[in-house]
């Protein structure tokens, strides 16, 4: 169990290092880097190349945005298997449903109860 946590730490850290390299060495804005990560996750997920990372590193692969992309790809493939062509349109959002809904919900709640403050 502790080994799993360590593996997650290692893999997650490495993926984030790639992100930091992009920030420091290129002129890419954070928004563009997030897009690159999610699309990369979709592409790797489509060809089954991300799954080994998930099996090895668990949350270290699923927590970063690439994991979100992988989730979208896996969802699309699953829905196509089960629903045929319609799955192309339903699969992605279906698998991301929990994440998107949670983001909207908690975002709204936090907006109600919290106030932005200047960085200390």
């Amino acid at each position: 169990m502790v080994v799993d946590v360590m593996k997650a730490f290692l893999l997650g850290g490495c993926i984030c290092i790639i992100g930091q390299l992009l920030v420091d060495l290129t002129k890419l804005t954070p928004a563009r880097i997030m897009v690159i990560f999610v699309v990369t996750g979709v592409v790797l997920g489509l060809f089954g190349l991300y799954q080994p990372l998930v099996e090895w590193g668990g949350a270290g692969a699923t927590v970063p945005l690439t994991g979100f992309g992988n989730l979208l790809a896996k969802g699309v493939i699953k829905e196509i298997e089960e629903q045929g062509f319609l799955g192309v349109f339903t699969g992605g959002v279906k698998s991301a449903a929990a994440g998107i809904t949670a983001a909207v919900t908690f975002g709204y709640i936090m907006a109600i109860i919290s106030k932005p403050r200047i960085k200390s």
Binding site: V23, K27, P30, P116, R117, I118, K119
Partner: protein
């Protein structure tokens, strides 16, 4: 009657007298090296208001009231207010002065607004159309961030060349008579665009404009750098100041130890985590209206060239791939 000198400079026949000034700043600025010079430091970023924009109007209004008080003038003495800020529609200034019952003209010069306003007011006073004017400018870290960059709570990492938008407002009262340092000449600046695309490196965008205006002033007036006690830029910051030095050297001018920058004076760059220093209209306005005027009062300085520098960027144009033009206006202040 004013006289044009050289290519760009205007020498004033009837110098405008700076009768008094006041600066109100935020907490971070209140923790900086110039703390004791400011007239007031607000408790938090909301300054008792509901929104950051209202807070910025509040500190601008307070600086105006305090400056009037210190100059011994009343609101009815003022013929014209020339003011501006960084926000869309110059909303901080327009709302700050909506209830003062005085003619108001809004300005946009980005961070060069303070000297733009002082230059215009001085020309109007010299020409006789205005007896007493208010020159003021403000900026607020939070209102600037939400318009130009990111929401406050967003987790972005600042780059080493970035600057911290000062939460501050400064106001000076200019008059045709009275006691105080005088504005004896002005050099309005041209817009210079050297192709900088990084909105986190405004020092680089503004340094060429500062260099151009300073060079113009020196060549038009025939003065050398040694004749000034200080050549004070608004907010080039650490990186922009180094660039200015290099650019001036290419024009055969050595700034020696005469150059100071309000963005580097208002914060302690070592301890206050502001990367290259402060920026924003409020930076030069607050520093000049308090610290610099105090230096004149104490006789520490007798001749200063004050050049507020502005980056005329627009988030929309930047997203469209445009670069950042810079501008710098100079006013010569003499005891």
């Amino acid at each position: 009657m004013a006289n044009r000198l050289g290519q760009q400079t205007v020498v004033l026949d009837k110098p405008a007298i700076i009768l008094g000034g006041a600066g109100i700043v935020g907490k971070k600025e209140g923790d900086g090296p110039l703390a004791r010079y400011f007239d007031n430091v607000i408790d938090d970023e909301y300054a008792g208001e509901k929104t950051f924009e209202a807070a910025e109007s509040r500190i601008l209004m307070d600086a105006y009231v305090k400056a009037l008080e210190k100059s011994g003038k009343s609101p009815t003495d003022i013929n014209l207010i020339l003011s501006g800020d960084l926000l869309n529609q110059c909303t901080a200034a327009s709302y700050a002065f909506r209830d003062v019952n005085t003619p108001y003209m809004g300005l946009f010069g980005a961070c060069s607004t303070m000297t733009e306003s002082m230059a215009l007011a001085a020309m109007l006073i010299d020409g006789g159309s205005v007896d007493y004017a208010v020159c003021a400018a403000s900026s607020h870290f939070c209102s600037a961030e939400r318009q130009f960059r990111f929401p406050l709570e967003y987790g972005n990492q600042r780059t080493p060349t970035s600057q911290w938008t000062v939460t501050g407002a400064g106001a000076v009262i200019l008059g045709k008579d009275g006691q105080g340092p005088k504005i004896t000449a002005i050099t309005p600046g041209k817009i210079l665009d050297q192709g900088i695309k990084d909105s986190n490196n405004m020092g680089a965008a503004m340094a060429p404009a500062a260099c151009d205006t300073i060079t113009r002033h020196l060549m038009d007036t025939g003065r050398s750098v040694d004749e000034f006690d200080m050549i004070l830029t608004g907010d080039l910051g650490k990186f922009g100041s180094e660039m200015l030095r290099d650019l001036m050297r290419r024009n055969n001018f050595d700034l020696k130890n005469k150059h100071k920058d309000c963005g580097m004076l208002i914060f302690d760059l070592e301890t206050q985590d502001v990367d290259c220093g402060g920026s924003g209209c409020g930076c030069s306005a607050a520093v000049f209206s308090t610290y610099i005027l105090d230096m004149f009062r104490q006789g520490i300085v007798k001749r200063i060239l004050f050049i507020a520098t502005g980056a005329l960027l627009s988030p929309t144009r930047m997203q469209q791939g445009e670069t950042i033009p810079g501008i710098a206006h100079a006013v010569l202040v003499e005891a």
